[in-house]
């Protein structure tokens, strides 16, 4: 797993779809240290991240929660329930997380 020693603001994006990859790409361009996760294994999103958000790291959602200073949930509304209920129990409460609703269509 890559080191998270950077002192800059670390952005974590949960969701490697249309919105998540667009945010990751813009954040990399803005100089953020960006990690992104999808559902399932990291291997499943590696190519997507490499091509659509080069410079961002593909990691697990657990890593995002542990290490992100700012977290964006770019997950479709109908799939929010698939996120673990205690997801943010692992998150340092001094850090912030922002909720972003994805596409509302089923």
């Amino acid at each position: 797993m890559p080191s998270y020693e950077a002192t800059d603001l670390r952005l974590g994006v949960v969701g490697a779809g249309k919105i998540g990859t667009a945010i990751a790409r813009a954040a990399v361009a803005g100089g953020y240290d960006v990690a992104i996760s999808g559902s399932g294994d990291v291997e499943r999103i590696e190519l997507i991240v490499e091509v659509l958000a080069p410079g961002a790291r593909a990691v697990t959602t657990d890593d995002i929660v542990r290490h992100g200073d700012l977290i964006v949930l770019a997950v479709p509304m109908h799939r929010f329930r698939e996120l673990p209920g205690d997801l943010f129990a692992r998150h340092d409460p001094r850090r912030r997380h922002e909720l972003l609703g994805g596409d509302r269509r089923p």
Partner: protein, 181 residues
């Protein structure tokens, strides 16, 4: 396999070794270039040869750019009013309509304007097929027939002619209002 911009859908098409059809209904088509790249890389990864890529976008053809815009605008606005209410999008405006014509995903105008833009996007994304979803909304039957006729008789032959020549960026073709930037 038709995809609307989700990278997972593009990967799925490649995993099944199926040709790709991009549905592009708004915004600059260049935004889909990374997905085309993703598709090609994924085909390599799954051990398939490169396959055909097509695209679908909306448009309308009339004798002149102005006539095409005047006929299409109220029907386009009506459709996007509904979509705005349903999906939480911004309400349609004339500015946005014009932006879609100038640099977005409406292939609208005279046969020359539309052919120039189609030939450009084919070159831009390396497409082997372009589907025109002609006449957005409830454009009257006669006007739909007119656009089909112009598309078949004038636009398609002109696109083939343009593709036989070196590619042209519509932004550099200042005389066609529907294809500038």
């Amino acid at each position: 396999m038709g995809v609307g911009g989700s990278p997972q859908s593009v990967i799925r098409a490649a995993r099944y070794g199926l040709p790709l059809m991009l549905a592009v209904i708004g915004g600059p088509p260049i935004r889909f270039a990374p997905l085309v790249d993703l598709y090609k890389r994924a085909l390599d990864k799954y051990g398939y040869p490169q396959l055909r890529i097509g695209m679908h976008s909306h448009g309308y053809v009339a004798q002149t750019d102005q006539e095409a815009a005047e006929i299409q605008w109220p029907h386009w606005a009506h459709i996007y009013e509904g979509a705005a209410a349903e999906r939480g999008w911004a309400r349609p405006s004339m500015d946005r309509f014009q932006a879609e014509i100038d640099e977005g995903s409406l292939y609208l105008g005279s046969p020359e304007t539309v052919a120039t833009k189609i030939a450009w996007v084919i070159g831009l994304l390396g497409l082997s097929r372009f589907d025109l979803a002609y006449a957005t909304g409830r454009v009257p039957h006669e006007q739909k027939m007119a656009t089909i006729e112009l598309y078949g008789r004038e636009v398609i032959p002109r696109v083939r002619e343009l593709l036989a020549e070196p590619p042209v960026d519509p932004a550099s073709v200042g005389t066609h209002a529907g294809a500038g930037t």
